[in-house]
């Protein structure tokens, strides 16, 4: 079982998941219950606060992660904020409802007997609202455990990382294992909160039967133990003491492999510890700002992306990005260093099925333009947005596709196989081009820029650990397009681990 072989990886993710989810849950519970109590007593703010938490809940969670990136960057802080904002609704609502459903005569009795406002809250409102508050906590718990799965998108870790890694590398076993892990964790945590449902009010009211008290105590102890184990396993305090560097990657197989190669090379040749933040959703859009903030230290970027998307520079006529020019601008604008080029060009290309190519006798994009009314074109969302993407392509070649379909980047080849589309954009290092018998059409009008891969690293990190320069430079010109495509093949179609493929590569280096 390959999953069993990756026990350490999954234990790490599980520990992260437990810590993120329980951390978010603790904050959500404290903030949510406080807000619920506040709106119960303050009828003036009630409408506003309840609509606000309602509104937050309606923002799609993925969007919320993205919206916060410019404010707080990627990683744990972002994840916690999103999870808390999202989890507030059931907590605030249930707390408020629980309090407002406390019987009026019971409250009046306490008032009439001389209980103060605080005593009435402590002795009457709070214990009687507790079952409703705990019911809200159960809903929140299940929701947050599940939602923590998305935190991996912004590099916060957790079991979602396995799911995204599986999605990005076409590894179904990883997707299943990650999802199952989250489901089981959600069920267990729901059970855990459920133990408090009828017992906590008795413990709080000091009239619990010994059995009830013991159940609550065991429950609290069990959580403390699990969290303790997770903390011990991850040892988050260690990284601040020892020398570490953080390697990032975008969410593609190629990037996972390149990330692993960098990480393993550093681990092999230096004493530095490496933190892996792989598969960060949004790619450059989120990784570049995180580099500027110092949250990440290095990743592999492509010259075309760096030149146009990051620097916002115009391409020269030959569509080639000059490495010295990009190095100079990155250094000047961002204090980031381009290490040199790895040796392969992963640019865009259009691909159609081999059989179609021969049937229409097509070998270039201009050929496709002549027959484009017969083609349904599919590409990832990003492609329709970027300046070197769809619009310029159509303007250059004059395509008139029968229809266009936007989809997730990892689904293009499947869409092609299933006949949903019959022309897609591809990356020149995609393993699935050969495996799926596709024909890459020549970009005869030279529309797509060059996307040569190179390592981008923070200058500050290089200054601190000068040895990295020599270590990482070993990769310069060592990975040609064919090698990259082969490694992609091994991960995506031969189901090997990026870790394993990277290790093999380094041995041959």
């Amino acid at each position: 079982m390959e999953i069993l072989e990756r026990k350490d990886y999954f234990l790490q993710l599980l520990a992260e998941h437990i810590l993120i989810a329980s951390g978010a849950l603790t904050i959500t519970a404290i903030v949510g219950i406080s807000l619920g109590i506040w709106v119960f007593y303050s009828s003036k703010t009630r409408g506003f606060v309840l609509s606000l938490v309602n509104f937050l809940y309606t923002i799609p969670s993925i969007a919320m992660f993205g919206l916060l990136i410019p404010l707080v960057g990627i990683g744990l802080k972002n994840a916690l904020i999103v999870l808390v904002l999202y989890g507030l609704l059931p907590m605030v609502r249930n707390t408020y409802t629980g309090l407002s459903e406390v019987r009026a005569d019971v409250v009046e009795a306490a008032q009439g007997m001389g209980a103060t406002r605080y005593q009435i809250f402590r002795d009457v409102y709070f214990p009687l609202a507790l079952p409703s508050i705990i019911a809200g906590l159960r809903v929140t718990t299940v929701m947050l455990v599940a939602l923590t799965g998305l935190a991996a998108l912004i590099g916060a870790g957790g079991l979602g990382q396995a799911i995204f890694r599986g999605l990005n590398t076409m590894n179904t076993a990883m997707i299943v294992a990650g999802s199952l892990g989250i489901s089981i964790l959600a069920i267990l945590m729901d059970r855990w909160v459920g133990v408090f449902e009828h017992r906590l009010v008795r413990v709080v009211s000091k009239n619990a039967a010994p059995k009830q008290r013991i159940a609550v105590q065991i429950n609290v102890a069990a959580l403390a133990l699990v969290i303790g184990l997770a903390v011990f396993y991850i040892n988050p305090f260690q990284s601040s003491h020892t020398h570490t560097v953080t390697v990032a990657s975008k969410p593609t197989s190629e990037q996972f492999i390149l990330g692993e190669i960098m990480a393993q090379l550093i681990e092999k040749e230096t004493d530095l510890k490496v933190i892996r933040k792989f598969g960060i959703g949004g790619g450059t859009t989120n990784i570049h700002p995180a580099l500027l903030k110092g949250e990440l230290d290095m990743y592999v970027e492509y010259t075309g992306t760096g030149w146009m998307s990051v620097l916002k520079e115009k391409l020269p006529a030959d569509k080639q990005v000059d490495i010295q020019a990009i190095q100079a601008l990155y250094q000047k604008n961002y204090k980031l260093h381009w290490m040199g080029l790895l040796g392969f060009n992963n640019t865009y290309a259009l691909a159609i099925h081999d059989s179609m190519a021969s049937k229409f006798n097509m070998s270039s994009c201009s050929d496709l333009a002549l027959n484009s009314q017969f083609f349904e074109f599919g590409a990832e969302f990003d492609f329709f947005e970027r300046i070197d993407g769809y619009q310029g392509l159509v303007d250059t070649y004059g395509f008139k596709f029968a229809s266009i379909h936007e989809m997730d980047i990892n689904l293009r080849y499947n869409a092609m196989l299933q006949g949903k589309v019959n022309a897609i954009d591809a990356f020149t290092t995609d393993a699935k081009i050969v495996a799926n018998e596709l024909k890459v059409l020549k970009d005869d009008l030279n529309y797509f820029p060059s996307y040569e891969a190179g390592i981008v690293i923070r200058q500050e990190v290089l200054d601190e650990y000068p040895a990295l320069e020599a270590v990482l430079s070993k990769l310069n010109n060592k990975i040609d397009t064919e090698t990259m495509m082969q490694m992609n093949y091994e991960v995506e179609l031969a189901n090997k681990e990026p870790k394993e493929v990277a290790k093999q590569f380094i041995q041959q280096l």
Partner: protein, 224 residues
């Protein structure tokens, strides 16, 4: 030497309205220590409102409310209420507390220690005909009559200066009501505190009261 005539409640020219609906107008009367007053009258006559003006749950708009020789505004309201017992319909017991915890609630507010609570509850149980076995039960495990007996113990356990009761027996069946009426009468006699009870039943008022105040449209019609 106690002065039987000393008034513990003095109301004069009291006015009260909910928004613009007048409930009490120019109402005056006094209650002497040890009396058993029944406030009676048709529903909407203002009798329950009057009761709640005496413990500050409602605030009068005009006139004077003087309790235990001090105007009610001058009292730290919790302090005043802790000198009173309060009984509502069907007991209004705390559903999450045991019978014993309910009974002790006022004593705890008045800072009695656990030992005195226990001693006092043991004393009162035979007086209200409740079994010690019930002490660890919760209100929803009791009958309506038992609940109200617990409510009465809760209201008298801390030796209050007066006990206010709002329709305490109206939710009970006839038989239970009669037995509880006798019980309250006996307790009044034994403890010699002041009782002020709101009831819509003339018969109940006649049976219990040392003085009956009939109310109609926010005013006192007759005092017997």
């Amino acid at each position: 030497m106690s002065m039987p005539q000393s008034n513990i409640i003095e109301l004069s020219e009291l006015n009260f309205a909910y928004e613009d609906k007048k409930v009490l107008s120019n109402l005056s009367f006094t209650v002497a220590k040890g009396e058993f007053i029944c406030l009676t009258g048709k529903s909407g006559c203002g009798k329950s409102t009057l009761l709640r003006l005496m413990n500050g749950l409602l605030k009068h708009q005009q006139g004077k409310v003087e309790i235990l020789d001090k105007e009610i505004q001058q009292w730290e309201i919790h302090e005043l209420r802790r000198k009173m017992g309060y009984v509502l319909q069907d007991g209004a017991l705390f559903p999450h507390l045991t019978v014993y915890q309910n009974m002790c609630y006022c004593m705890k507010l008045n800072s009695f220690d656990e030992a005195s609570c226990k001693k006092r509850i043991d004393e009162l149980l035979p007086l209200v005909n409740l079994d010690a076995e019930l002490l660890s039960k919760f209100p929803d495990e009791l009958s309506g009559g038992q609940r109200q007996r617990v409510g009465i113990v809760r209201a008298i356990a801390h030796n209050p200066e007066m006990v206010l009761m709002d329709e305490p027996f109206s939710a009970l069946d006839a038989e239970t009501r009669i037995s509880l009426q006798s019980l309250v009468k006996a307790i009044h006699k034994k403890l010699n505190t002041t009782f002020i009870m709101v009831t819509h039943s003339n018969d109940e008022a006649k049976k219990l009261a040392s003085r009956i105040i009939y109310m109609s449209q926010g005013q006192i019609e007759t005092i017997h």
